[in-house]
Point group: C2
Chain length 190, copies 2
Amino acid sequence: MERKVLVEVSARHVHLSKEHLAILFGEGYELTPKKELSQPGQYAAEERVTVVGPKRQLERVSILGPVRKSTQVEISLTDARSIGITAPVRESGDTQGSAPCKLVGPKGEVELTEGVIAAKRHIHVTPEDAEKFGLKDKEVVSVKIDTNDRDLILGDVVIRVRGDFATAMHIDTDEGNAAAMSGEVYGVIL
Amino acid sequence: MERKVLVEVSARHVHLSKEHLAILFGEGYELTPKKELSQPGQYAAEERVTVVGPKRQLERVSILGPVRKSTQVEISLTDARSIGITAPVRESGDTQGSAPCKLVGPKGEVELTEGVIAAKRHIHVTPEDAEKFGLKDKEVVSVKIDTNDRDLILGDVVIRVRGDFATAMHIDTDEGNAAAMSGEVYGVIL
């Protein structure tokens, strides 16, 4: 059986802690959901924030809700170089010793000493699909993406199995562009 | 024998025709070589140019010399999206029907109706290395790049054999970042 999986490109975005949301947007502020994401309960918010590095800044960066325990900024390595920081490739949540930046909102600023990462590519898998595809949580796989001009096999893809996931692979804009992806694209787990 | 090849990341750059150089920098102007490139006779010039799209512009873009028959702008698909154009993935020189942009220099501007591409990944090969590696001009191969966090196998890599080449693979910044490349990196032709 071919193990086909939807490949989604994540643009740069920020997850905020409750504390940082209050500093950036004001005490008691709540995010306004704008668009549901493929992962159940997750949404892109109406609100935007500026990510400032030593060389340059990224304006109007998406905030994904709901709030999380820790603030995390996910940018591409192209973005990181452009604003003048060195972001490590990390799994979500693994931000210890990652890159610093400043966040600027309409009501205040936050100096992050760490929290900026380039997301390690991964596949969200439901327990049902994990069973069907013979995949285990934390397993590392390769995924083949066929396009007209830039076929790619991505290694170091982490499998994450959880009951509240929808099955979808997440890569960043550099990776999507390296495959010249456009429209709805499916990869094959090798 | 393992067919190892140096992988070089090409940042965005512009090749100018003599005519466009004259418009942008003034009649009779000549480029000032700043840094030799790996391909014999090619150099990065001191001069820079602004690449303008409908949404945004890229400032201080490198000009590579010497002048060519036609002006060609090579940017990443990240760049293309950022400035608001759709650049096709093309081999160098194959610019017919490619994307438009405006170039702005210190002395004038040029409206390009076509000429903007995202470079198709390729390997410059000397005739000696082609013989040694069993490669033919125009052959399409795959290349494996192993890094700590983002192993990649790039398909659709075009082999170009010529006497005045040095053997080196060229990819763009999206592709280099999709492999999290840093420092001197070698790929293996599969």
